[in-house]
């Protein structure tokens, strides 16, 4: 006689949202709690809704569109797309986050649109970010997004889950960005294709919610469909005052079946850097230290949160950005900008020589706010370093933590930030 097998977080969320007893490999039609689109993808979704002959969204309180990728508009083509999004909001009642509100992946959880236990889809690949707050959230294309906006449901294949456990203890000067880059280096950019990741262990438990989001944000960079974590006391505290829906935390069963299990010892992970032009082209910082950089960028849905700005401000306070380097800062939301102003971080960063741009995606996706020149190296806190990503296919993008970027822009070369954390500041 065989016992009923336990379930992963993904299997439990899909079961609850499809009214079935779902396991990995099952195809289910599931209710979604929220649908989001950004200014690159929403126009195609609006077009798809028009082609479907659909005039309304399934629930205006559960749909939001965000102008963040090219915002404020740098070119008339985008201006027209933004207008189309505003008109869509007026027509359907969907929430519109206009220019300057911030990056979609900060705004959706920050405003309590999703809570632990939810299932949501977004027309942006980094929708996996909210796995950090126990939401099964995943990126879809505009046609799937339109179908979800119209029907409030979508078909899904319930994914297998890869369990990733970080043991040991994070060392000073090493951050959650380094943990996820280390995983990408280990399993590769298609190491978890079609799978959900579940992150566990004392290192994850010790991280703030902000820092956890950095990890879940990059689940897609190893091909994963989601990057899930448990909701703990920190998660629930973070949700206080955000929205009016009660969290429904979902824990995996102790006997859940995982397709793969990986254990990484955080105690031996130092600062990591992903080199051009692939996110899994990862080296310990020692191997790339000394590489000249022309531009630094701190921001994005990966690392544009308050504690990221704090880490950078703590390093740059009273110091100067190297004269041959531009440092661009894009807070992930207006609220983060306001909090960073109140805390004095923005003053510190701008006095050090940083350039502050509108809350949003900044130069990450190459539409505006700092396109690098031919042959230039960029050190960035973003999640992608693909060829041409920042708008110039002849530039070279290195990815690291906010501390690594801050340390590097001071010296004009990729620099190990640990000297600012171990009392050994030269």
């Amino acid at each position: 006689m065989s016992a009923i097998p336990g379930k992963t977080i993904a299997e439990k969320i899909f079961s609850a949202h499809s009214g079935t007893d779902a396991y990995a490999g099952d195809i289910v039609v599931a209710d979604v709690d929220f649908v989001m689109g950004q200014d690159g993808t929403t126009p195609l979704a609006i077009r798809a809704l028009e082609n479907m002959g659909v005039e309304a969204v399934f629930d205006p309180a559960k749909v939001a569109v965000v102008m963040d990728h090219s915002s404020p508009s740098p070119i008339e083509g985008v201006s027209a797309l933004h207008t189309m999004m505003r008109e869509f909001g007026k027509k359907t009642g969907a929430k519109v986050y206009d220019v300057g509100c911030g990056v979609c992946h900060q705004l959706i959880p920050e405003n309590g649109h999703v809570v632990p236990g939810d299932l949501m889809v977004g027309c942006d690949s980094h929708t996996c970010t909210y796995g950090a707050v126990n939401v099964f959230s995943t990126g879809v294309g505009s046609t799937d997004g339109a179908a979800a906006m119209a029907a409030g449901k979508l078909w899904f294949k319930v994914p297998d889950t890869m369990k990733v456990t970080y043991t040991g203890e994070l060392q000073p000067g090493v951050f959650s960005k380094d943990l996820i880059l280390a995983l990408a280096g280990r399993i590769g950019v298609d190491g978890a294709t079609y799978m959900a990741l579940e992150f566990h262990g004392p290192v994850i438990d010790a991280l703030s919610v902000d820092a956890r989001m950095t990890i879940s944000n990059m689940a897609i960079e190893v091909g994963a469909k989601a990057g899930l974590m448990k909701a703990d006391a920190k998660t629930l505290a973070w949700y206080e005052g955000r929205g009016d829906r009660a969290p429904q935390p979902v824990d995996p069963d102790a006997d859940a079946v995982y397709a793969e299990e990986i254990v990484l010892d955080a105690s031996v992970i130092g600062p990591q850097v992903a080199k051009p032009h692939a996110v899994d082209n990862v080296s310990p910082i020692e191997e790339v230290a000394g590489t000249k950089v022309a531009q630094g960028f701190i921001g994005t849905c990966t690392n544009g949160r308050l504690e990221d700005l704090k880490v950078a401000a703590d390093i740059l306070r009273g110091r100067k950005v190297h004269p041959d380097v531009r440092l661009i800062i894009a807070p992930a939301s207006k609220q983060i900008l306001l909090d960073a102003i109140a805390a004095g971080y923005i003053q510190d960063l701008v006095e050090a020589g940083a350039v502050l741009v509108t809350p949003g995606c900044g130069p990450c996706v190459g539409t505006h706010n700092g396109v690098p020149s031919d042959g230039e190296n960029v050190i960035s806190t973003a999640n992608r370093n693909f060829k041409g990503r920042m708008g110039n296919s002849n530039a070279f993008i290195y990815l690291g933590s906010p501390a690594t970027v801050a340390a590097s822009v001071i010296e004009g070369v990729i620099t190990d930030p640990r000297k600012y954390f171990t009392g050994g500041e030269a």
Binding site: G40, T41, P43, L44, R47, A48, E50, N51, M52, G53, H69, S70, I75, G77, V78, L81, C123, D124, S125, T127, G139, V140, G141, S142, T143, D144, A146, A147, V189, D190, T193, Y194, I220, G223, K225, A278, V365, G366, T367, R384, F386, K387, G388, R389, G391, S393
Partner: protein
């Protein structure tokens, strides 16, 4: 459903940023998107691709961003089918939804060189390298996928099925 054309062969991890860079997402016009298809990877691609040609790539084709502009750009550049060793998850769904035929066929990819003439029978899954005479049996499209592709995309196919609707 038969495809035949010249193979254009690329490597692994062809991401959606090189398929269609974000700086061109200021339009959703398929012809304009197609004009910049793959330009950061191979600036000559748009000039050399002919209607019906076949894109061949290694693992993880279409990784990265969820932009549906990527399969739209490939389709409207004239590509009839993409054959790869594997596809990234979001791209896989987007390709079918936008009516771009895709096939996972690792052995065929290994046996097709850049410039080879290739035919694909979507109904039987037979891929033939006309230049070398080799052929491989891949998974044929399930009937519903064939319906979507023949309809020109999910929305168009669904609308045809329900008998018109919005013009």
């Amino acid at each position: 459903m038969q495809f035949s054309g010249t193979a254009h062969r690329y490597g692994r991890d062809i991401d959606t940023d090189v398929i269609i860079p974000a700086r061109y997402l200021n339009t959703s016009d398929p012809a304009e998107l197609a004009a910049h298809c793959l330009e950061d990877l191979d600036a000559a691609f748009v000039g050399k691709v002919s209607a019906g040609d076949i894109l061949v790539a290694e693992e993880n084709f279409g990784c990265g961003s969820s932009r549906e502009h990527a399969p739209i750009a490939i389709k409207h550049a004239g590509v009839s089918v993409v054959i790869a060793k594997s596809f990234a998850r979001i791209f896989y769904r987007n390709a079918i939804n936008t009516g771009l035929p895709i096939m996972e066929a690792p052995e065929a990819v290994d046996g097709i060189g850049d410039g080879d003439e290739v035919t694909v029978d979507a109904e039987t899954g037979l891929i033939t390298n006309v230049t070398t005479g080799q052929s491989w049996q891949a998974q044929p499209f399930p009937p519903f996928v064939r319906d979507i592709i023949e309809g020109g995309g999910l929305v168009e196919a669904a609308r045809a099925k329900v008998g018109g609707g919005a013009g």
